[in-house]
């Protein structure tokens, strides 16, 4: 939004506005100190703690903690779950956003609410829903057990819970952008003789790719870091159904603090990488927005 706004304002007005809106230096410094102090205290310090605790007994202890079979299994499971749930949510998210922004139909607002549901429900409840459906006492429990299909307390259950919890990320990221972009370009493509598939690949996808990547990134971060929902459906079998966050808790509970923080540090590293990637994507996204706004402005003038 601000990018769009900027492109309309001339430099002169901008300086005057800035002078009017700026606080005196004392206020500015105080606010800045407060803000940065808060960040250091609540974000910086915990992050540093994770790494110092993980390396408390040196690199050898750190590496051997990660080399342990159970830790390895947890990393493998986390990656597997993300590798399944993130691409699926990417496809679902694009389809959902496409439906919502490019077509008019009854029940649209209901669909939007439904997409947001996983955000508003506590993750523990999300997990319990799957236990109630697929657990032995649940709706499909006996049928699954008779056919020897394991969902709850196995990888499929963890994947399902993760998909549910991370579902909104991609769609939520795409909907505002696609709404803003409207349907003119697609309509033009169709008039020029493109079929639906061509329209999507050649027109829609290039327009949304940065927002899509951004959504996928957030989705992936949450998929790997989810605790509550996964904890309910995991069964906590060591070396089998513990994801990295669950394994971290177990190690901590076993007084194995170095190993717990070693696994946690991997998650923290992931968060840092996500942060950098996020900044890059945000920058790209801003550019795309500005470009789009400019093309509209040009078309209108």
């Amino acid at each position: 939004m601000p990018a769009e706004f900027d492109s309309f304002t001339s430099g002169n007005v901008e300086t005057r506005r800035r002078r009017l809106l700026t606080e005196p230096p004392v206020v500015r410094t105080t606010l800045l100190t407060l803000g940065i102090g808060f960040l250091v205290l609540f974000i910086g310090l915990p992050l540093v703690t994770v790494f110092t605790e993980a390396l408390r007994k040196g690199w050898d202890a750190y590496l051997s903690a990660l080399h342990e079979p159970a830790a390895f299994a947890a990393i493998e499971l986390t990656l597997t779950v993300a590798a399944i749930s993130v691409p699926l949510n990417m496809v679902f998210g694009v389809i959902a956003a496409w439906c919502i922004t490019k077509f008019e139909f009854r029940g649209k607002s209901f669909l939007i609410t439904l997409i947001d549901l996983p955000f508003s429900v506590s993750p523990v409840i999300s997990g319990l829903v799957f236990v109630l459906m697929f657990g032995l006492q649940g709706w499909f429990g006996h049928w699954l057990s008779d056919n020897n299909i394991k969902i709850i307390f196995a990888t499929p259950g963890i994947v399902l819970a993760t998909i549910f919890v991370t579902f909104p990320f991609v769609a939520r990221e795409l909907i505002p952008l696609m709404q803003q972009q409207g349907t003119e370009e697609e309509e033009a493509a169709v008039i020029l003789g493109a079929n639906g598939w061509q329209t999507f690949w050649r027109v829609t996808l290039p327009n949304i790719k940065w927002a899509l990547l951004y959504g996928v990134l957030l989705c992936n971060a949450r998929a790997m870091g989810e605790f509550g929902a996964v904890s309910v459906v995991s069964g906590h079998i060591r070396g089998k159904t513990n994801t990295m966050p669950l394994h971290t808790e177990i190690l901590y509970n076993e007084y194995n603090f170095v190993a717990a923080f070693a696994v946690a540090s991997l998650l923290a590293l992931l968060a840092l990488v996500t942060l950098v990637a996020k900044s890059i994507l945000e920058w790209k996204l801003k550019q795309a927005h500005a470009l789009h706004a400019k093309s509209i402005a040009n078309a209108e003038s």
Partner: protein, 334 residues
């Protein structure tokens, strides 16, 4: 390119699952309660060695730990445990009621299907600054007590019943006084974790509270892991005989055809080797010889029993821990 990535992801995941399933080991799962992690790590290693040396199939024993009540719930919901080794009879009964374990399970093994016992002690900070010697000292003002939640934790139910039993045994003790006593005790509890191990880390790591009501084995382990210079154990003159229960989950072993392993596994817990491992991990062994060898570790104190003093687990559970029971009344009243 994206679709290729997608296919690759699904394929590799599927292959991973397949590889796991194809491994030529028999997988065996022991679902246990919170403080037994170290015990069963050692038991599993020793049993696997013995089993395979005796020509049994190749074994992969897995373990799952958590609050006893929530673990029982998971087994009821389909966690495929070959055996359960939980904190108390009632939690195994809950599984039996759903038909997964035969109703007569308590009688199938010696000593009420409880191969080792324990009791409830106090873990205090070094030097015992609040001078806590007995249950009565816990309700003094300004004493912060750490105990898990009796709704989810087996250990917490033993804690609660020991306190109740103490109050009843006092001169002039009656039901009302016992209720007031546990109410006063839980007023001094700042945080209820869901399992025993959570409470221990709250007390020893996060430094909350003056006294931890703890399994004897859990208290010894905390001292061993974190140093005798920080904590000491106070064994009250009266406590409760905690009998953790073990059982084969019949429905699961029949389906997985692992009954032979499950039976041998539980028998191993009663055998001298298993008893020795239990004693080394500060569980009170049943075997007289092993008990004699480790008698210095375990103080002789007066122990209430669940059957003698509380009319068995079903009655105790109904009266104290079911919804609307005494615990709900006193804890909500806070």
């Amino acid at each position: 390119m994206k679709s290729r990535f997608l296919t690759a992801g699904i394929l590799s995941a599927a292959l991973g699952l397949f590889a796991q399933a194809a491994a030529a080991q028999t997988e065996f799962l022991n679902v246990s309660y919170d403080p037994t992690r170290e015990l069963y790590q050692q038991v599993n290693a020793a049993f696997t060695k013995q089993w395979e040396a005796n020509g049994g199939r190749k074994l992969q024993i897995n373990a799952s730990h958590g609050g006893s009540g929530s673990q029982a719930r998971s087994v009821i919901d389909g966690l495929e445990a070959d055996v359960v080794t939980l904190a108390l009879e009632y939690d195994v009964d809950a599984i039996a009621q759903k038909g997964l374990i035969n109703k007569d399970w308590v009688k199938r093994l010696p000593d009420n299907s409880s191969p080792y016992t324990s009791t409830i002690v106090f873990l205090v900070r070094k030097g015992n600054p609040k001078a806590i010697k007995d249950w009565g000292d816990l309700v003094k003002p300004g004493v912060a007590i750490i105990t898990p939640n009796p709704k989810t934790s087996g250990g917490a139910r033993w804690n609660y019943l020991a306190a109740w039993g103490y109050a009843l045994k006092q001169p002039g003790g009656n039901e009302q006084k016992a209720k007031d006593f546990v109410a006063a005790l839980f007023k001094n509890v700042p945080v209820l974790d869901s399992g025993a191990r959570g409470s221990t880390t709250t007390f020893v790591q996060r430094g909350l509270g003056d006294v931890l009501l703890s399994w004897e084995n859990e208290a010894y382990l905390a001292i061993k892991e974190l140093g005798p210079d920080k904590f000491e154990i106070v064994t009250p003159p009266l406590s409760i005989l905690a009998e953790p229960s073990v059982a084969v989950v019949d429905k699961v072993v029949d389906k997985k055809k692992t009954r032979d392993i499950a039976d041998a596994y539980l028998k191993f817990l009663y055998a001298p080797e298993g008893q020795e491992i239990a004693a080394k991990n500060y569980y009170r062994p049943r075997d007289a010889k092993v008990a004699e060898k480790y008698k210095d570790n375990f103080k002789k104190i007066e122990l209430l029993t669940i059957d003698g003093d509380f009319g068995g687990w079903t009655a105790a559970q109904k009266k104290h821990f079911d919804d609307g029971g005494v615990f709900d009344q006193i804890y909500v009243a806070k």
